[in-house]
Protein backbone atom coordinates (compact mmCIF):
# COMPACT_ATOMS: atom_id res chain seq x y z
CA UNK A 1 0.00 0.00 0.00
CA UNK A 2 1.11 3.52 -0.71
CA UNK A 3 1.92 5.92 2.11
CA UNK A 4 2.52 9.67 2.19
CA UNK A 5 4.55 11.36 4.93
CA UNK A 6 4.63 15.04 5.78
CA UNK A 7 7.23 15.51 8.50
CA UNK A 8 6.50 19.16 9.27
CA UNK A 9 3.35 19.54 11.38
CA UNK A 10 3.63 23.33 11.24
CA UNK A 11 5.61 25.96 9.34
CA UNK A 12 5.78 29.74 9.52
CA UNK A 13 6.83 32.24 6.89
CA UNK A 14 7.07 35.99 6.75
CA UNK A 15 4.88 37.71 4.19
CA UNK A 16 6.70 38.05 0.83
CA UNK A 17 9.23 35.38 1.78
CA UNK A 18 9.62 31.85 0.39
CA UNK A 19 8.75 28.63 2.19
CA UNK A 20 9.16 24.96 1.29
CA UNK A 21 6.87 22.21 2.54
CA UNK A 22 8.23 18.67 2.52
CA UNK A 23 6.58 15.43 1.41
CA UNK A 24 7.88 11.93 0.91
CA UNK A 25 5.95 8.91 -0.29
CA UNK A 26 6.37 5.20 -0.63
CA UNK A 27 5.17 3.18 -3.60
CA UNK A 28 6.23 0.27 -5.77
CA UNK A 29 4.43 1.72 -8.79
CA UNK A 30 6.17 3.60 -11.56
CA UNK A 31 3.17 5.51 -12.90
CA UNK A 32 1.27 7.81 -10.58
CA UNK A 33 0.24 11.38 -9.84
CA UNK A 34 1.19 13.62 -6.96
CA UNK A 35 -0.80 16.58 -5.69
CA UNK A 36 -0.65 19.40 -3.23
CA UNK A 37 -4.02 20.47 -1.81
CA UNK A 38 -4.77 23.53 0.30
CA UNK A 39 -7.44 23.45 3.00
CA UNK A 40 -8.24 26.88 4.45
CA UNK A 41 -10.07 27.12 7.77
CA UNK A 42 -13.40 27.08 5.87
CA UNK A 43 -12.51 23.45 5.16
CA UNK A 44 -13.05 23.21 1.36
CA UNK A 45 -10.06 21.44 -0.19
CA UNK A 46 -8.54 23.18 -3.22
CA UNK A 47 -6.00 21.75 -5.65
CA UNK A 48 -2.79 23.80 -5.70
CA UNK A 49 -0.58 21.87 -8.09
CA UNK A 50 -0.28 18.47 -9.77
CA UNK A 51 2.71 16.44 -11.01
CA UNK A 52 2.66 13.43 -13.30
CA UNK A 53 5.37 10.93 -12.34
CA UNK A 54 6.39 10.31 -15.96
CA UNK A 55 7.26 13.99 -16.42
CA UNK A 56 10.78 14.99 -15.41
CA UNK A 57 9.97 18.70 -15.51
CA UNK A 58 8.78 20.12 -12.23
CA UNK A 59 5.28 21.58 -12.27
CA UNK A 60 4.74 25.29 -11.62
CA UNK A 61 1.59 27.32 -11.06
CA UNK A 62 2.31 31.03 -10.60
CA UNK A 63 3.92 31.39 -7.13
CA UNK A 64 3.74 27.64 -6.47
CA UNK A 65 6.30 25.14 -7.71
CA UNK A 66 7.37 21.64 -6.82
CA UNK A 67 10.67 19.82 -6.54
CA UNK A 68 9.90 16.28 -7.68
CA UNK A 69 12.66 13.75 -7.05
CA UNK A 70 11.32 10.43 -8.28
CA UNK A 71 14.25 8.27 -7.22
CA UNK A 72 14.17 9.74 -3.73
CA UNK A 73 10.34 9.64 -3.66
CA UNK A 74 10.26 13.25 -2.60
CA UNK A 75 7.75 15.91 -3.61
CA UNK A 76 8.21 19.29 -1.94
CA UNK A 77 6.13 22.43 -2.48
CA UNK A 78 7.74 25.85 -2.73
CA UNK A 79 5.62 28.94 -2.19
CA UNK A 80 7.27 32.16 -3.34
CA UNK A 81 6.27 35.68 -2.32
CA UNK A 82 4.04 34.31 0.44
CA UNK A 83 0.74 36.09 1.01
CA UNK A 84 -1.59 36.18 3.99
CA UNK A 85 -4.12 34.23 1.95
CA UNK A 86 -1.68 31.31 1.71
CA UNK A 87 -2.24 30.51 5.38
CA UNK A 88 -3.92 27.10 5.49
CA UNK A 89 -3.37 23.39 6.00
CA UNK A 90 -1.48 21.87 3.07
CA UNK A 91 -1.83 18.22 2.16
CA UNK A 92 0.39 16.17 -0.10
CA UNK A 93 -1.47 13.37 -1.88
CA UNK A 94 -0.73 10.37 -4.09
CA UNK A 95 -2.93 8.79 -6.73
CA UNK A 96 -2.16 5.65 -8.70
CA UNK A 97 -2.39 5.85 -12.49
CA UNK A 98 -3.20 2.15 -12.71
CA UNK A 99 -6.92 1.86 -12.08
CA UNK A 100 -6.96 2.97 -8.46
CA UNK A 101 -8.56 6.37 -8.25
CA UNK A 102 -8.45 7.17 -4.57
CA UNK A 103 -6.19 9.84 -3.14
CA UNK A 104 -3.81 8.87 -0.35
CA UNK A 105 -3.10 11.90 1.83
CA UNK A 106 -0.35 12.85 4.22
CA UNK A 107 -1.14 14.19 7.68
CA UNK A 108 -0.80 17.80 6.54
CA UNK A 109 1.32 20.84 7.35
CA UNK A 110 -0.18 23.97 8.88
CA UNK A 111 1.29 27.05 7.21
CA UNK A 112 1.19 30.32 9.12
CA UNK A 113 2.00 33.58 7.34
CA UNK A 114 3.23 36.49 9.44
CA UNK A 115 2.64 40.08 8.42
Amino acid sequence: AQTVTQSQPEMSVQEAETVTLSCTYDTSESDYYLFWYKQPPSRQMILVIRQEAYKQQNATENRFSVNFQKAAKSFSLKISDSQLGDAAMYFCAYRSANGGNKLVFGAGTILRVKS
Binding site: Y33, Q44, A97, L103, G108
Partner: protein, 114 residues
Protein backbone atom coordinates in the same frame (compact mmCIF):
# COMPACT_ATOMS: atom_id res chain seq x y z
CA UNK B 1 -21.09 26.92 -12.02
CA UNK B 2 -22.04 24.96 -8.96
CA UNK B 3 -19.39 22.98 -7.14
CA UNK B 4 -19.78 19.90 -5.00
CA UNK B 5 -22.34 20.45 -2.27
CA UNK B 6 -22.89 18.48 0.91
CA UNK B 7 -25.67 18.50 3.46
CA UNK B 8 -26.04 18.91 6.30
CA UNK B 9 -22.91 20.94 7.03
CA UNK B 10 -23.10 20.00 10.71
CA UNK B 11 -24.72 17.02 12.35
CA UNK B 12 -24.89 16.14 16.01
CA UNK B 13 -26.05 12.63 16.83
CA UNK B 14 -26.48 10.69 20.02
CA UNK B 15 -24.54 7.49 20.22
CA UNK B 16 -26.55 4.71 18.64
CA UNK B 17 -28.48 6.92 16.22
CA UNK B 18 -28.40 6.43 12.48
CA UNK B 19 -27.28 9.33 10.26
CA UNK B 20 -27.40 10.03 6.52
CA UNK B 21 -25.02 12.41 4.80
CA UNK B 22 -25.75 13.70 1.32
CA UNK B 23 -23.41 14.66 -1.52
CA UNK B 24 -24.37 16.43 -4.75
CA UNK B 25 -21.47 16.15 -7.20
CA UNK B 26 -20.67 18.47 -10.06
CA UNK B 27 -23.02 17.76 -12.95
CA UNK B 28 -21.50 15.32 -15.41
CA UNK B 29 -18.87 13.99 -13.04
CA UNK B 30 -18.75 10.24 -13.33
CA UNK B 31 -16.59 9.51 -10.31
CA UNK B 32 -17.57 10.19 -6.71
CA UNK B 33 -15.49 9.63 -3.59
CA UNK B 34 -16.11 9.73 0.14
CA UNK B 35 -13.32 10.50 2.61
CA UNK B 36 -13.24 10.68 6.40
CA UNK B 37 -11.12 13.38 8.03
CA UNK B 38 -10.44 13.15 11.75
CA UNK B 39 -9.52 16.35 13.57
CA UNK B 40 -6.03 17.53 12.64
CA UNK B 41 -5.47 14.63 10.21
CA UNK B 42 -5.45 14.09 6.49
CA UNK B 43 -8.54 12.69 4.78
CA UNK B 44 -8.78 8.92 4.53
CA UNK B 45 -10.52 7.16 1.68
CA UNK B 46 -13.81 5.43 2.40
CA UNK B 47 -15.42 4.47 -0.90
CA UNK B 48 -15.57 5.23 -4.63
CA UNK B 49 -18.34 5.16 -7.24
CA UNK B 50 -18.19 5.27 -10.99
CA UNK B 51 -21.68 6.24 -12.05
CA UNK B 52 -23.96 4.06 -9.89
CA UNK B 53 -21.42 1.27 -9.44
CA UNK B 54 -19.53 1.13 -6.16
CA UNK B 55 -16.11 0.02 -7.40
CA UNK B 56 -14.13 0.28 -4.19
CA UNK B 57 -15.40 0.17 -0.63
CA UNK B 58 -12.19 -0.98 0.95
CA UNK B 59 -11.96 2.06 3.22
CA UNK B 60 -15.29 1.66 4.97
CA UNK B 61 -14.30 1.04 8.62
CA UNK B 62 -17.13 -1.30 9.53
CA UNK B 63 -20.39 -2.77 8.29
CA UNK B 64 -22.16 0.12 10.02
CA UNK B 65 -21.05 2.30 7.10
CA UNK B 66 -22.99 2.09 3.88
CA UNK B 67 -22.91 4.29 0.77
CA UNK B 68 -25.11 4.41 -2.29
CA UNK B 69 -25.47 6.33 -5.54
CA UNK B 70 -28.56 4.76 -7.11
CA UNK B 71 -28.92 7.02 -10.17
CA UNK B 72 -25.27 7.84 -10.70
CA UNK B 73 -25.56 11.38 -9.38
CA UNK B 74 -26.41 12.18 -5.75
CA UNK B 75 -24.78 9.95 -3.17
CA UNK B 76 -25.66 9.19 0.43
CA UNK B 77 -23.32 7.93 3.12
CA UNK B 78 -25.22 6.23 5.91
CA UNK B 79 -23.79 5.38 9.30
CA UNK B 80 -25.83 3.08 11.49
CA UNK B 81 -25.63 2.93 15.28
CA UNK B 82 -23.14 5.79 15.45
CA UNK B 83 -20.21 5.57 17.86
CA UNK B 84 -18.05 8.35 19.28
CA UNK B 85 -15.14 7.28 17.08
CA UNK B 86 -17.28 8.13 14.05
CA UNK B 87 -16.95 11.83 14.91
CA UNK B 88 -15.11 13.42 11.99
CA UNK B 89 -15.58 15.55 8.90
CA UNK B 90 -16.91 13.55 5.98
CA UNK B 91 -15.73 14.89 2.64
CA UNK B 92 -17.21 14.14 -0.74
CA UNK B 93 -15.30 14.68 -3.99
CA UNK B 94 -16.20 14.23 -7.64
CA UNK B 95 -14.24 14.08 -10.86
CA UNK B 96 -14.41 13.19 -14.51
CA UNK B 97 -13.68 9.57 -15.33
CA UNK B 98 -9.94 9.04 -15.54
CA UNK B 99 -7.41 9.05 -12.72
CA UNK B 100 -5.68 12.04 -14.32
CA UNK B 101 -8.60 14.29 -13.57
CA UNK B 102 -8.77 16.60 -10.60
CA UNK B 103 -11.01 15.66 -7.71
CA UNK B 104 -13.20 18.59 -6.64
CA UNK B 105 -14.11 18.56 -2.98
CA UNK B 106 -17.23 19.65 -1.18
CA UNK B 107 -17.20 21.62 2.09
CA UNK B 108 -17.74 18.50 4.17
CA UNK B 109 -20.17 17.45 6.88
CA UNK B 110 -18.90 17.70 10.43
CA UNK B 111 -20.39 14.82 12.42
CA UNK B 112 -20.25 14.92 16.20
CA UNK B 113 -21.41 11.86 18.10
CA UNK B 114 -22.20 12.48 21.76
Amino acid sequence: GAGVSQSPRYKVAKRGQDVALRCDPISGHVSLFWYQQALGQGPEFLTYFQNEAQLDKSGLPSDRFFAERPEGSVSTLKIQRTQQEDSAVYLCASSLATSYNEQFFGPGTRLTVL
